[in-house]
Every structure is written in structure tokens, then in C-alpha cells.
Point group: C2
Chain length 152, copies 2
DNA sequence: GCTGAAATAATAGCGTT
DNA sequence: AACGCTATTATTTCAGC
């Protein structure tokens, strides 16, 4: 973090939890002027500290009650196999996240579906991709903590 | 989704990707008045479809280059063991997410740290908690996809 | 539930220290 | 960098349909 100070960090802390705060509200908390906060927020976006501002939905209300993690092992690790798997898998709407991993398997996918039937549909699509050796599925029983905000 | 229509879904779609859109911009896309959009967004928040609006930071810029998944197996599954583990683990600032799972282990944690040294510090704190049998750690090599927006 | 319009509030730009 | 001031835009409210 080369070019941001404590005030910037405090702004990031606040906006990570609630990006609907107005510059006026932030300026009151930080004992700065509205214009100063405005300029800092503009800079934090421009420099890429803030990538974007998004609405977080209640997944149960929009029919994504089932979250699964899928561990994928590929047949080989050639550049082609890896990149064509990535290219295909990110196009599945069920795939919220995809990480290439170190260790005993190659990718972790986080899958959001309505229910087990919908997961099964996804699973069959996934297993059809070329060069997959195994897919292991783990299902979320309960969400103890789910945070998009990094402590700063 | 009992009480929302196609227009609401379109608003949710838009705001999931960019919550900085103004009501005017949304109203232009949907061919509705600004006041109509305003009222719908208000309702979507009030009814809990939109849980919150947050800034998403670039984790590499704020020194969280290492993401790990930790699989935790507990000694037993008594209500006490489970809930006291949950209560302790969510207090670690490194733990972004914690899910109780079905299957061969009990919890998946998503951990964000600066580097492997910082992960090691976390690992030793975690392993100190009572009733833990094993912790398996998997490290992210690369992030292929990371989305907070559900396709609607 | 939508519209248009009016009132209130926030953001964006600028000149100064 | 921060400030206050001003202009521009956006949000919020409301009467009427």
C-alpha cells in the first residue's frame, strides 16, 4: 500500500461495509470537509483500490439456496488443458468462483444453485468437459460467516 | 421469488454489477420513470432482496495476495463443539468466510492473508482451538473467476 | 403502480490557502 | 491536501391518474 494513508484506509473500511454512505456522512465521521472526502474517494476509485460498487443480494430470496464447492482434478496440466478448462467453466452460470489451486486437485469451484436437482444438472454438464479426471462435491450446510470486506 | 417481476429482476441484475448507476440511468434502460425505479429499488431493499451495497476492493492492492481454503475436521459434532468452534473462528480477521459442510470434513474456511508467513501465523492460531482434529490447507494459484453477482 | 414536477440533498468542479 | 463556494445532478416526496 504505497500511496494511501490512514484516512484513505478509514474510507475504504467504511465503504466496504456500506457504500451508500454519502460523502457528507463520511466527512462527519472523519472530521474532514466533504470536498476532501470526495477527492479521496475519486482517487481510490481511479487508482483501483475500489474496483467496483455492487449490490449484495440475499441468495435465498433469489432461489440460490444450495452452495457447493467442487474440487476438480484434470488429466494433465498442459497449458492447453488448463486454459481450455478455465475458458469453458467460467461460462456456466452456476459457477460463481473458480480458483486454480496448489495441491491434490487443480480447481475449486464455488457453485450456487436452487437445489440439489439443479446441482445435479450442473454436475453432468461439468463432467462432460474434456480432460476432467474427477469432480468431488461438498455441500454447504450452513453459512457461519460470509464477508466481502477485508479488515484494514 | 413470490413478489417481484421482470422489471425488478432487471434492476437487481444491473445493481449487482454496478450499484453506482443512478435511478435516471436505470430508468432510461428500462423505459420507466425515475420515480418508478426509485420506488422499486426502495422496495427491493426494504424486502431484503438487496441486503447491502458495498465497495469491492482490489485485494492485491491492500496486501491480501494469498487466498487459502482450509478444511477443518472436528473431534466430535456435539452442538457445543460446533457452536464454540464457529464462535471462535469468525473472530479471526483472516477468515473471510466459514461454511459448515456435509461430507468428509466439517468446515471450509476461506482465508485472506498477505503471504505464506501470515497464513502460517493464522494456521497456528487456528490449530490451537479446542476439538480440532485436522486442518488441511489449499492455496490459490490464480483466480479464474470471482463474482458476487448471481445470474438472474 | 406509474407519471411529472417541485423540493431537498448530494456530487462535481474551481479558486484559494 | 484541504477548504468553502457554486453549479450541476440526483434523490425524494407528492398530487393526480
Amino acid at each position: 500500500m504505497p500511496d494511501i494513508d490512514q484516512t484513505d484506509l478509514e474510507i475504504l473500511r467504511l465503504l466496504q461495509h456500506n457504500a451508500e454512505l454519502t460523502n457528507k456522512e463520511i466527512s462527519a465521521k472523519l472530521h474532514k470537509s466533504v470536498a476532501a472526502v470526495h477527492e479521496r474517494v475519486r482517487r481510490l476509485k481511479e487508482q483501483g483500490y475500489i474496483k467496483r460498487v455492487v449490490a449484495i443480494l440475499d441468495r435465498k430470496k433469489i432461489d440460490r439456496s444450495l452452495i457447493a464447492f467442487s474440487h476438480v482434478l484434470l488429466k494433465d496440466h498442459s497449458a492447453n488443458t488448463l486454459s481450455s478448462f478455465e475458458k469453458e467453466v467460467i461460462r456456466f452460470p452456476e459457477v460463481m468462483e473458480c480458483f486454480q489451486m496448489t495441491g491434490t486437485f487443480d480447481f475449486i469451484l464455488r457453485i450456487a444453485t436452487a437445489d440439489m436437482d439443479a446441482y445435479h444438472v450442473f454436475y453432468r454438464k461439468l463432467a462432460t468437459l474434456p480432460n476432467i479426471t474427477t469432480v468431488q462435491s461438498f455441500f454447504v450446510l450452513s453459512e457461519t460467516k460470509s464477508d466481502t470486506a477485508y479488515p484494514l
